[in-house]
Amino acid sequence: MKQQYEIVVGLEVHLHIATATKAFCGCKNEFGLKPNSGVCPVCMGFPGSLPVLNEKYLEYAVKTALALNCKISDKMKFDRKNYFYPDLPKNYQISQYDMPLSEAGLLEIIAKDAAPKKIRIKRVHMEEDAGKLLHEEDNITRVDFNRSGTPLLEIVTEPDINSPEEAYAYLLTLKNLLEYLEVSDCDMEKGSLRCDANISIRPAGQAALGVKVEVKNMNSFKGVRAALEYEQKRQESLAQDNEKIIQETRLWDSDKKITQPMRTKEEAHDYRYFPDPDLVPFEIDPALIKKIKNNMPQLPAEKKKQIIKDYGISEYDAGILISDKAMAEYFLKCAQSYNQPKIIANWIISEILKYLNSKNMEFRYFDLPPAHLTDMLKMMDSGKISGKIAKDVLSDMITSKKSPQDIVKEKGLLQISDETELRAVIKAVLRQHAQVTKDYKSGKEAALSFLVGQAMKATKGKANPGMVNKLLKEEMGNI
């Protein structure tokens, strides 16, 4: 019988924190500046310069750690991680080693088609980012130090993740949480969120962990999932063939969809960590922690409860709405001016999301004013437009930025509810389709919807469908 394996994954997320200035100097913490224009002697590591901790960075870090249910350390200490690389101007990175900002947290995830599961967070620590190497056409490598000294948080899980799908769900949940905290834009493509994975397999039921492989270089959440799926298969097939899995670092190649060895443990660095003497250890003021706790924004789990309770939305739909902070906010704004929240939720989840997915666009960039959506829904309610027309109005609103009233007026989309007008249309339809009318009268129910369709077509979709139904039956009764 074929041996069954369990996969064990731990994730390390490097998160770029969106403070106004860098971690240890006053330079702008901004993406996309001209190379080496957002720098100073401190983040360039110039001799004689000294780091000074950005208080906002500490605040954001504490806020994130608290939201991950971590225990905040009593004492703050920074260490130097020593290694040589041209993008690291001091040839050491200011990081935290044996006394991280916080430890022992929890994040609850719901993987696809699975029950909720709690993932333990091992540690959350602060560290500065390095610069960037630009390999240019003239075969010269240049260094851009704009990113050097920007604030990062490293969020490390315990090996509690047991499938690529769970890893994916963890990342989505984490990103969602971080968006609510407003501490990071979490954009993996811009590099503001980077993720490395440690993966091993073990025979199902075995307690001891297998040999761990580190996988790097994934540039999207789906990439993490795909890399883990690949790595799981690779390790399982090695194990099935009784071949040894070696401890190593592998790089994900997103084009070839494979992982390839980068370096083995033997070549690993000795980082010679020691306390940074330039940053004196200090105790975090309990008042600061209290203040951060008191000002904590509503987090996704709470928001979900609120949407279910206050608006009667189903658990499933509420889950979708809160999965994106901008979407949840949009829903809540609409719900303030239109009293049928379920209808709002349906339109957001079915129509708007469909549109955004087709454009591969994030909700935060969706700029339709909530009032336009709710005005349109109200027009539907009052019978001014039909549901079918409403869908057209929505896509028109999104592209033209016009109000639904203007669109309906300009295009003459008002629903026809005038009985005399509709009766004339229906009479004409019945005359044209005498055979179908007979079929209906002889008991062929399906014929009715054909006739309704013909009436709608004749009015370019503007006929009030309820009235068309009613009048059709009446007129046929008269024949």
């Binding site: 001799p47 004689g48 310069s49 000074v52």
Partner: protein, 484 residues
């Protein structure tokens, strides 16, 4: 007679010159002229400057403000303190041509006080040394005997003040680098409390030990300079947010009732006879002025040198990692990135720098960290505790600054351990973060200066100035300028 007097302006102190400027009896031009003439007369024999340019100095004098407490006073700055757009090379080949884009905090302060920054003082490469012989520009000579070393690492600063080529100088002290050369050159050198003076812009040797401090011709000037350079700096989180008193207020003649500690561990058999004699005289003088001498013990003194070399080299190995040829200074191209690093650092660093980088890298390495770095930190805490205990029973501690007067050039270059031991009395103050001052206390039989060291508890620079000033005013011996 007036001409004669003017030509000797270089011999005066900062407070004397300031007085003359204030009452308009001399001009900034007179002072700079006098000092430059002196430099031209003796610098070839002393070699105290790493970088000096007469035209630049004259230009600065022309532009100097006519206000500020140090208006027009020529000063030399150790080559490891950043001055914007001026060569700052730590006397190392690896920083060849380096001009920082910013001023160290102490430099901004001196500039706004009107001081005239003459040039850069020679030093041991990256402050690694006790003799000024590891400078890439060649050694500085002791003005009292040019066959001897001036001490180090701030040897240039000490020699320039001693030879009247600068009215005062700034140095840095990591294990004695201000006090030891001050003692060997017969000038006053102060290492302030750790955190008293901003380190921002001081190219770090050992960040937890380094302090900038003044070299002056007398104790009054030392207090005067400290008034300007001390204080909290938001750019340096290790600088203390403790108010700065007016130090000149503590220049008092009386030491009546002052409790002076006599630590038996500092009066060891290897102590030079002349040094011992002068220290005995100093104790006697203090006693005659009404001070009380208290026997104390600093039991962990023996471990200070070993502890120091682990801590200082560990930090240095990391601090000096940035000199890699990528951004500034020397670069030796290589086939690969690793080659560029290796060639640049092999070519750029001298032997002593390499020795300390290797030592520090080793003691921070995985598997050795606990036995070296961590152990050293524990011993450091014990040494600090020794002082905490001692200052419960005394106000200041009086010791020799160095075990011997200046030694010969080349004498200890082949024996690093002997060289390291010349800092045996100065290192404990750095490990404990306490302030210490070296004050001239006479001459050896062969005419070489001898220095005594006064130490006090953290931030008690006032008591140091009080004791040092009282000694200086009442000493029974005459100052002999070097016959250079």
């Amino acid at each position: 007679m007036t001409n004669m007097k003017d030509s000797k302006l270089y011999e005066l102190t900062a407070h004397e010159l300031s007085e003359k400027i204030k009452n308009n009896s001399v001009s900034v031009k007179d002072i700079i002229g006098s000092v430059i003439a002196r430099i031209e007369a003796v610098e070839t024999k002393v070699h105290g400057f790493a970088h000096f340019n007469k035209q630049d100095a004259l230009k600065k004098a022309g532009e100097s403000k006519i206000s500020g407490p140090l208006c027009g006073i020529p000063a030399a700055i150790k080559d490891n303190i950043c001055i914007k757009d001026e060569l700052t090379t730590c006397c190392s080949k690896i920083l060849k041509g380096f001009k920082p884009p910013y001023d160290a905090t102490v430099i901004s302060k001196l500039k706004s006080a009107g001081a005239l920054l003459l040039g850069r003082a020679n030093m041991d490469e990256f402050a690694f040394g006790s003799s000024c012989e590891t400078s890439c520009y060649g050694p500085t000579k002791n003005p009292y005997d040019t066959s001897r070393i001036p001490g180090g690492s701030s040897g240039g600063s000490a020699a320039l003040v001693c030879a009247d080529e600068a009215i005062f100088a700034l140095g840095s002290d990591t294990g004695g680098s201000i006090r030891q050369p001050a003692a060997l050159c017969g000038v006053v050198g102060l290492k302030p409390t750790y955190g008293r003076v901003s380190r921002y812009g001081l190219i770090a040797f050992a960040s937890s030990l380094d302090q900038i401090g003044p070299f002056t011709k007398d104790v009054t000037d030392s207090a005067l300079i400290m008034n300007i350079i001390a204080g909290h700096d938001p750019m340096d989180t290790t600088s203390a947010d403790v108010p700065v008193p007016d130090y000149t207020k503590y220049l008092k003649n009386s030491v009546k009732g002052l409790k002076i500690g006599f630590p038996k561990e500092y009066f060891i058999p290897g102590l030079d006879k002349d040094v011992k004699e002068h220290l005995d005289e100093a104790f006697d003088l203090f006693k005659s002025l009404g001070a009380k001498i208290i026997n104390i013990s600093l039991p962990h003194t023996d471990y200070a040198v070993a502890t120091y070399y682990i801590v200082a080299c560990s930090e240095a190995s990391s601090n000096l990692a940035r000199f890699d040829g990528v951004q500034y200074g020397l670069r030796q191209e290589g086939e690969t990135l690793a080659d560029m690093y290796k060639y640049t650092r092999a070519e750029g660093f001298g032997d002593e720098a390499k020795r300390r980088i290797i030592l520090g890298t080793y003691s921070l390495s995985s598997g050795y960290y606990d036995a070296y770095y961590l152990k050293a930190q524990k011993v450091r805490a014990l040494i600090k505790k020794d002082f905490d205990e001692a200052f419960k029973v005394c106000d200041v501690i009086l010791t020799p600054t160095t075990p011997t007067p200046a030694f010969k050039l080349g004498e200890k270059m082949k024996d690093p351990l002997q060289m390291y031991l010349s800092d045996i009395f100065t290192i404990p103050a750095n490990l404990s973060g306490i302030p210490a001052i070296s004050v001239p206390c006479g001459y050896s039989k062969s005419g070489l200066p001898v220095g005594m060291q006064l130490m006090a508890k953290a931030f008690d620079e006032p008591v140091l100035f009080n004791a040092a000033y009282a000694y200086e005013q009442n000493k029974k011996w005459e100052i002999k300028k070097p016959a250079i």
